[in-house]
């Protein structure tokens, strides 16, 4: 045994051949031969290469178990980031050289436009100010005349409170879900919540410019609140149906080591 001390220490004791016995999730040779073409082949080779590098890292003598196993920053991530950066910088240079932007006449501060709208990314908040039809009317307060005084709060106050509700919900979501999923398939419900939010942001933006849309006002209000639920339900069902198959198992196996929640 004294002679072995001079040799390079190995994680598995140095007695084996370096060949790791397949576990239950290792694909059989027949399964490997079935992925012989196109994108499935490329994806398979990518993950197989990653798995092999992972295995080699683990068998090195100075390997220390950590929480996260990923690609090293150099050279993998750096080459990818540099190529992406080069592409976008080149695209900016190309477009600015070939299609220089139009510089219009200066704005006229003495004339007011006919339609005043905020910038497009604030349409959702502007749409929340137009939820007057949803403001509940209380017959106790004012009787049958719904025009004046029959509501608990004014429509504009109701719109501001709606803004607070939406912003509050967006602020609460990170505390309900810590975001440990790497891709939407792993947590279909929260992915559906995200789809709901995106679609609702779009529909409430459409509601804010309802006088410019060729849709009836009542129908538009219904669609504004129905479409997010429809889209969220469809995406939930779709993602649940995607929770099977070889690629999902492979992803789950590769990303089994996770950062602590």
């Amino acid at each position: 045994m004294a002679d072995n001390n001079d040799e390079e220490p190995m994680a598995d004791g140095g007695s084996g051949t370096g060949i790791v016995a397949p576990d239950d999730e290792t694909p059989t040779w027949r399964e490997r031969k079935e992925r012989t073409e196109g994108l499935s082949r490329l994806t398979y080779e990518y993950f197989e290469r990653a798995r092999r590098e992972d295995q080699d890292l683990r068998q090195e003598s100075d390997y220390v178990e950590r929480d996260v196993l990923a690609f090293p920053a150099w050279p993998h991530e750096m080459i990818r980031n540099l190529s992406l950066t080069s592409f976008f910088v080149g695209m900016i240079l190309f477009l600015s050289a070939t299609l220089p932007p139009h510089i219009g006449p200066p704005a006229n501060p003495s004339s007011t436009p006919a339609i005043i709208l905020p910038d497009w990314y604030l349409y959702w908040s502007f749409g929340l100010l137009k939820l007057g039809p949803l403001n509940p009317e209380l017959s106790i307060l004012g009787g049958e005349t719904a025009a004046e005084g029959a509501k608990l709060m004014a429509d504009r106050t109701y719109g501001v409170v709606a803004n607070l509700v939406v912003v509050g919900f967006v602020a609460i979501v990170p505390f309900l879900n810590k975001g440990s999923a790497r891709r939407p398939v792993e947590q279909p419900f929260w992915a559906a919540v995200g789809v709901f939010g995106v679609v609702f942001a779009f529909t409430i933006s459409m509601l804010s410019i309802k006088n410019l849309l060729p849709i009836g006002s009542n129908l538009l209000l219904d669609v504004t609140f129905l479409l997010p639920f429809v889209a969220g339900t469809i995406s939930y069902a779709l993602l649940r149906s995607m929770q099977e198959g070889y690629m999902y198992d492979l992803n789950r196996r590769y990303y089994r080591l996770r950062p602590p929640k």
Partner: protein
Amino acid sequence: MADEFAKGTAILAGVGLIWMVLAGWYKTPSFEGAQLTGAPPAELGTYGEMALVLESGLRWFIIIGVFTFWVVIPAAEQTREYFAS
């Protein structure tokens, strides 16, 4: 299937970029009016006429290429699989 989709996307993005530049040069008379589809100026030199011909060719190449790779070839393969089984 995924390869055909990537080919159609490559045609749409790559050729579409060149087409957008040419249409921006020759078929966008003003900022307020029609974009990329406006009327080209009347007096064009030889290079301008060649560019217009190229623009039209690229436009039809995008339409036919994307239609081919996204619709025709997958439909043909589906049909062949259906009749083979």
